[in-house]
């Protein structure tokens, strides 16, 4: 029965991918892509990678979808010249995509069996961290340096987006609210965020012991914030506001501070003192969740569209 489920899932994913590639208008392709993200989440569930399934649903289905829809709406308004690709471009893209797929398939099919894995070592050291979710242990204890740099990259990406603002709008607020806010949208923006915030807090808290964690929680918070800004219930903040900028850096800053404290307390950068690892990790995660939420929210909002107030 499980094999049948997998076959149906793979067939659905392939058909949906074909639909996205063949869609005539951009908007149809984006909607197909959002659906693809959700279906891919199901695929990750089948591979028993529940952490990845959560991230795929949150990023692939939620925030990326909004980002792409915004871009589509923007380019449609500016009535750009005909952007239809020439047949040679399409053929080149198809050949490249097929080459990447074939290469990946070749590598996957030729993995030694059993594949080399660090999983037993990661599970064995789990007790020392006090955590029960091995994915969180990898992200915030074993490979904490990678996670730290990843969060800094997010902020660099935001700096890149902000720098697209023209000089006279620098420091101003981005504009998300459409010209006309449909009634159902403003209703949804009032009803959904309380549940969303609750789910985000739960996702952060459960991440220490079960699938979930700071990135998923931050993404949900960002989605709820974006919803409120989209419906015009709250305007986007000025990008030069001090509180906003403090929120952006609080996560990486706490992470970095704990890293340097590691020299004094546990004899190495990002080393946690024995016995206190779990509370420290939860503290870092709480700060990171806030920073990720604000960073993703501002990334999707885009560069400043209004002059800074006073």
């Amino acid at each position: 029965m499980n094999a049948l489920l997998d076959v149906v899932l793979v067939a659905g994913l392939l058909a949906l991918a074909l639909h996205v590639a063949r869609a005539r208008d951009d908007q149809g392709a984006i909607v197909g892509f959002i659906a693809f993200g959700f279906l891919l989440g199901l695929g990750w569930v089948r591979l028993a990678s529940i952490d990845v399934a959560l991230t795929e649903a949150a990023i692939g289905g939620g925030v990326t979808g909004l980002l792409l829809l915004r871009v589509e709406a923007h380019t449609r308004d500016s009535s750009a010249p005909d952007r239809t690709a020439r047949p040679i471009t399409i053929a080149a893209a198809a050949v490249l995509c097929i080459a990447v797929t074939a290469g990946l398939a070749f590598v996957i099919l030729n993995l030694p069996s059993p594949p080399p894995t660090q999983a037993p070592a990661a599970a064995a050291a789990l007790d020392a961290t006090g955590l029960e979710n091995p994915v969180t242990a990898v992200l915030l204890a074993y490979r904490a340096l990678d996670t730290l740099l990843e969060k800094v990259v997010l902020i660099l990406a935001l700096v890149g987006v902000w720098s697209l603002a023209p000089d006279h709008l620098w420091g101003g607020a981005p504009e998300l609210r459409p010209a006309v806010v449909p009634e159902p949208l403003s209703y949804l923006a009032r009803v959904l965020p309380p549940f969303g915030v609750l789910i985000a807090v739960y996702m952060f808290w459960v991440g220490a012991d079960a699938p979930g964690g700071t990135f998923q929680a931050g993404t949900i918070l960002a989605a709820m914030w974006l919803l409120v800004m989209l419906a015009g219930l709250r305007a986007a903040p000025d990008t030069r506001r001090v509180t906003l900028r403090l929120l952006l850096i609080v996560g990486p800053a706490v992470f970095l501070a704990v890293g340097f404290l590691g020299f004094a307390m546990a004899g190495g950068f990002l080393a946690y003192p024995a016995g206190a690892a779990k509370p420290i990790i939860l503290g870092i995660e709480a700060a990171l969740t806030l920073s990720i939420a604000v960073t993703l929210g501002m990334l999707v909002s885009g560069p400043s569209k209004r002059a800074p107030t006073s």
Partner: protein, 95 residues
């Protein structure tokens, strides 16, 4: 029992998939967006059934997230709608 639950999940996945392609091929933009809503509901059902079949509680969280974000995606879709001429049409349609 797990086999029956997985079978039910397959059934729902197939039905959702068929509905998905029917809706995605629609000429009306709003109907296409309902495809995402359909997949959110159907996908959550599939995940809940699989979670019960394999007795893994964490899958319930995935279903929860799927529901939340499919509702969010629908809201995001209105963004592309109201910035163009369709906005005025939709405003006029309102009673």
């Amino acid at each position: 029992m797990p086999d029956f639950l997985t079978g039910a999940a397959v059934f729902i996945l197939v039905v959702t998939g068929l509905g998905l392609f029917r809706v995605l091929r629609s000429q009306v933009a709003v109907e296409r967006m309902m495809a995402v809503q359909l997949l959110g509901t159907g996908g959550a059902a599939v995940i809940l059934l699989l979670g019960t079949a394999t007795a893994s509680d964490a899958l319930t969280d995935v279903a929860l997230l799927l529901m939340l974000l499919s509702a969010f995606s629908c809201a995001a879709f209105t963004l592309g709608q109201s910035s163009s001429a369709t906005a005025t049409e939709r405003a006029e349609e309102k009673p």
